[in-house]
């Protein structure tokens, strides 16, 4: 029985999760330098201890509204690439059995299905598990 752990965060009130193994760190480095002419979901660049981290507005990336930066905002930094996801707030760690990750019903939420790995029914709400590799995919121009 393999258990999975998720970093959870909120966008527009919805709870999203990312496999903890795919997350490098979570921080509040939000002094973002905008990059003109970049794709809309690229919020800009920040200095992550001497390296430049590309920050995605996860709202826009998921096809929702842009996220305002507030006191609660966080950067979820991924492992695979130097990319951070700007989220509204960070939730608790969630844990579940691998088998409890269910396939996402097609109309479960308003975001594109390709970004969703599955859903987990937590005690109080639904956790939408995101696919980091799809979020990082670059279609090119």
């Amino acid at each position: 029985m393999a258990t999975k752990q998720f970093v959870t965060f909120r966008i527009d009130g919805d709870l999203f999760g990312m496999d903890v193994l795919r997350v490098r760190e979570i921080n509040r480095i939000l002094d973002i330098t905008p990059v003109p002419r970049a794709p809309v979901y690229v919020r800009g660049l920040v200095n992550l201890r001497g390296q430049t981290l590309t920050v995605f507005d996860l709202g826009i990336r998921l096809g929702l509204a842009p996220r305002p930066v507030t006191e609660e905002s966080h950067n979820v930094v991924l492992k695979q690439q130097l990319v951070g996801l700007l989220v509204d707030s960070i939730g608790n760690m969630a844990q579940c059995d691998e088998l409890d990750v269910e396939r996402c019903p097609a109309n479960a939420c308003s975001i594109e299905a390709k970004f969703i790995d599955g859903v987990v029914k937590l005690e109080e709400e639904l956790l939408i598990v995101l696919r980091s590799e799809k979020l990082l995919e670059y279609a090119g121009v």
Binding site: D31, T33, A38, V42, R49, G50, Q51, T52, T54, F56
Partner: protein, 896 residues
């Protein structure tokens, strides 16, 4: 040996690679080195191959060991002077190096590499040498104990002598009475014990020799059969049986190895006789021979000590150093305010400053590698090429110690290889031709690296036949990359530059070395990829020099910091030509609109201008002079002027600086220059370049990012990207410039034979010409901007409605293709009519002295036609067109 761990093997592979790359270089150097260098080179070669041999055997790679052993033997002959390196045997060694490299690259399959041919050839060099002189042997003695006095084996107290009778070769016997302690000590050290016979009586010299290599445990104690004058010694040494004889310089027959088991037995047996005093025994310890001097120092001859570091680790270190610099900068900013309260703080800050900067510089230097790392392989390349093409060439290299960033260095290999191939193939003539030309038969290629003002120069110079610019131009014409008229205007330098055009190749004969497809354009592209430039100089009959100039490092660049829209940007210094500040009072005079382009008059030139905010797509802002607020700037064009109600221009425009001055950074991009208008100018800083993620790379305007002293990220501007994304109208501006020059020269000498003429296209295959003097402006428009009312087309231009006309309405020519989205307007000079002529493409402005031919069939509105640059071109009669349309009602109306 069993399996060495993978880490160890990986390390070995890396080391062997390094050794082999040096080996190749040294082998080539050995071929034509001066005598004094020779032994040094041979020693180094020997050491490298020897190391590889030893380690490969130990780690269990017998094939590598065998081949390196064979090479080592040849090198040994060189070292001893028993053979001299020549073309042939160096070839064999080089081939051996190649095979070794091959084996090393896939080390676990090294045994499957077929190197029989190489081995055979190498071994053939040393017929006399035969097998290697020393094998790992352990052959035991034929001696047997004859009379080990034995009884009830109790170990003896050590300080007693035991009796040992040894039967040696040729039925000789010897009796020794060694001390048990000494014997057992020798055994515990696993020393070999020998019985040695010598011709002479006890010799002090011989005893001294024995002591040199070990210990004499006993001498023969006077057995009766010793009358023949021989003397026997019981000798213990660490030397193996086959070495002992060599060390003592006595024939093998006189030495008998005594198996340790025998000695062991003798030790446990009680002595037959009590140890008699040994009067004849020489003093046990001879005076120690003088110990050798410390090994002769060989300074300077060996490369400086190095260790290998994983590149990833290095990059991490570079990042961390960058971070430290940032921390320091932040600290400094905060402490600067309070430094006066504590004077000691100042010294500390200064120290930390210094150390941090220095550390960063050193860490960045760690990515640097000497160019000799790549120069060394060029010797081999040239040698092989010469062989292939039957030429005689000597390649000399200089400046191998010049260092470059690792990634640049790697990127340089292909360009240099290509240039060298060209040199060997086309540059250097065959020997006969050279002799006929009065040159030495052997050609020279010099490969030279040097520093020049923050850049590194790499020059490849040959003394070959040089380039025939005539042939180059001919070829360019034949390939259609150039037309006759353009060709006529080219300078000699320009002509040489043609070889950098894509697909250009001057090889008359296609050989398999070069001249097939890929040419110098690849060299140029590769070099430019990392910010370098390529130049060429050539004198026919004398030689060609190709010069590559490259920035020192990719990781750190000197950049001008500028600001726009409250953001800071870095512009690499290599792109910055100059900074121009246009005082507010000169703005009207210096900045103006030419067609679509805003231009700056800079000395004799017109420079297209682009606002940084426009280029990167930021909304421009300005600081309100009174409130200090940042407000959006709504004006569309930089040349637009704020006009007061009374119609006079507002001289207090403050858009670009507190005074209203305009800051222009003049940037250089391939073949062109343009001005970038920025809001603020800051210092020049050394910045560390960080790569961009894929998601950003496509924005074109940026070359990378960097982290500033305050910890914020700033984008590095990419000048060529900006020029292209701003759609700078270089052609139009050039046009305008030529027109003005023509105007001026027209004023100076009215009877100028040639006329500046605009060449343009209508329908795809139809070319037209108009004297520039009839044109007021050129504009670029999109098809979308055209509005159609009835049969008439209009565009909005400068706030007015401008009617359009098409040539096919006046002339028997084809209509414009309907697919072009971008069109151009020619606005003719006319006192009363405002009208635009719609065309598809502006081609060029040329000086023409042609009289267009006219005949009865020439339609009105056409002056005639002529062949311009090899193509039929129609000369439009603009006056006639204007006269024709001036008759229509609509035109007069709109122009009023």
């Amino acid at each position: 040996m069993g399996m060495a761990s993978e880490i160890v093997v990986n390390e070995f592979v890396a080391e062997a690679r390094e050794h082999l790359s040096n080996t190749e270089y040294d082998l080539l150097a050995m071929e034509n080195c001066v005598e004094c260098e020779f032994s040094e080179i041979v020693d180094r070669l020997f050491r490298s191959i020897h190391s590889i041999k030893g380690a490969s055997g130990t780690f269990g790679f017998p094939a590598i060991m065998e081949l390196s052993h064979a090479m080592e033997n040849v090198l040994l002959l060189f070292r001893k002077g028993e053979a001299t390196p020549d073309h042939e045997n160096i070839n064999d060694l080089l081939n051996g190096v190649d095979k070794l490299k091959c084996m090393i690259e896939d080390i676990y399959s090294s045994s499957s590499v077929d190197c029989r041919k190489e081995l055979e050839r190498l071994n053939a060099i040393l017929p006399a040498l035969g097998k290697s002189p020393m094998e790992n042997s352990g052959n035991d003695s034929k001696a047997a104990p004859l009379d080990p006095s034995n009884s009830n084996g109790q170990p003896l107290p050590p300080s007693r002598a035991i009796k040992l009778v040894i039967k040696g070769r040729g039925n000789t016997f010897a009796t020794f009475l060694p001390e048990a302690e000494e014997l057992s000590s020798a055994l515990s050290m696993q020393h070999f014990v020998f019985a040695i016979r010598t011709e002479k009586k006890t010799s002090v010299d011989f005893l001294a020799k024995l002591e040199e290599f070990g210990q004499c445990l006993a001498t023969d104690s006077g057995a009766p059969d010793q009358a023949d004058g021989t003397c026997c010694y019981l000798f213990s040494t660490v030397l193996e049986p086959d070495l002992a004889g060599a060390a003592l310089d006595i024939p093998e027959e006189q030495i008998d190895h005594i198996a340790p088991e025998i000695l062991q037995q003798a030790l446990v047996a009680p002595p037959a006789t009590p140890p008699p005093p040994e009067p004849s025994q020489p003093p046990r310890s001879c005076p120690q021979p003088p110990l050798g001097q410390p090994a002769p120092r060989k300074e300077k001859t060996t490369p400086p000590e190095t260790i290998r570091v994983n590149v990833g680790l290095l990059d991490t270190l570079i990042n961390l150093a960058g971070e430290l610099v940032l921390g320091r900068n932040q600290l400094r900013q905060i402490l600067d305010a309070t430094v006066d309260t504590n004077p000691r703080l100042r010294t500390i800050i200064q120290n930390v400053n210094l150390v941090t900067s220095e550390m960063q510089a050193h860490i960045l230097r760690m990515r640097m590698q000497p160019v000799k790392n790549i120069f060394s392989r060029m010797h081999r390349l040239v040698r092989d090429l010469c062989e292939q093409l039957i030429k005689e060439i000597e390649l000399s290299t200089e400046g191998g110690e010049v260092e470059l960033d690792k990634s640049i260095l790697e990127g340089l290999i292909d360009p240099i290889v290509h240039i060298l191939r060209n040199c060997v193939d086309h540059g250097i003539e065959p020997p006969a031709e050279r002799i006929a030309a009065g040159k030495p038969a052997k050609g020279q290629i010099r490969l030279r690296a040097s520093h020049e003002g923050g850049q590194v120069n790499i020059a490849v110079a040959d003394d070959g036949r040089g380039m025939n610019t005539g042939a180059i131009v001919e070829k360019a014409l034949a390939q259609g990359v150039l037309n006759l008229d353009e060709a006529r205007r080219l300078s000699e330098g320009d002509k040489l530059g043609l070889i950098f055009l894509p697909g250009f190749s001057t090889a008359i004969q296609v050989t398999n070395v070069s001249g097939r497809g890929v040419g110098m354009d690849v060299v140029k592209t590769n070099v430019e990829r990392f910010g370098g430039h390529v130049d060429i100089e050539s004198v026919q009959g004398v030689g060609t020099t190709i010069r590559i100039r490259i920035p020192l490092t990719l990781a750190i660049i000197s950049s001008l910091m500028v600001g726009a829209a409250n953001q800071r940007f870095a512009i690499p210094q290599v792109n910055v030509k100059e900074l121009v500040c246009i005082p507010v009072e000169n703005r009207r005079r210096r900045i103006e609109q030419v067609g679509d382009a805003v231009v700056l008059r800079l000395r004799e030139q017109l420079l297209p201008l682009v606002r940084l905010t426009d280029a990167v797509g930021l909304s421009p802002d300005f600081i309100h002079p009174e409130t200090g607020e940042r407000l959006p700037d709504r004006r569309q064009r930089i040349a637009d002027r704020r006009v007061n109600l009374d119609g006079r221009e507002d001289q207090t425009d403050r858009r670009h600086s507190p005074r209203g001055d305009v800051y222009v950074v003049v940037l250089r991009v391939v073949g062109n220059m343009f001005g970038l208008i920025v809001d603020e100018l800051f210092d020049i800083e050394e910045i560390v370049v960080k790569p961009l993620s894929d998601h950003i790379r496509d924005c074109r305007c940026f070359a990378g990012s960097t982290i500033l002293g305050d910890g914020r990220v700033a984008m590095i501007l990419d000048a060529p990207g900006i020029a292209s994304s701003a759609g700078l109208a270089f052609a139009e501006v050039k046009c305008e410039q030529l027109r003005r020059l023509a105007d001026e020269s027209g004023l100076r000498k009215s009877a100028a034979p040639s006329v500046s003429t605009l060449l343009f296209k209508g329908a795809p295959q139809e070319l037209f010409a108009l004297p520039l003097s009839t044109i007021s402006r050129l504009e670029k428009i999109t098809r979308e901007a055209i509005t159609r009312i009835g049969n008439q087309e209009f565009v909005t231009y400068c706030g007015k409605v401008l009617p359009l006309m098409r040539l096919d309405a006046f002339l028997p020519v084809s209509p414009l293709a309907s697919t072009d989205e971008q069109l151009h307007l020619i606005i003719p000079k006319s006192a009363e009519l405002a009208v635009g002529l719609l065309i598809s493409q502006v081609i060029d402005v040329v000086e023409l002295a042609v009289e267009p031919g006219r005949d009865a069939d020439t339609p009105p509105c056409l002056l005639g036609s002529a062949v311009v640059e090899g193509r039929i071109t129609m000369f439009v009669d603009m006056e006639e067109i204007l006269r024709t349309i001036g008759k229509g009602p609509l035109w007069r109306q709109s122009s009023s």
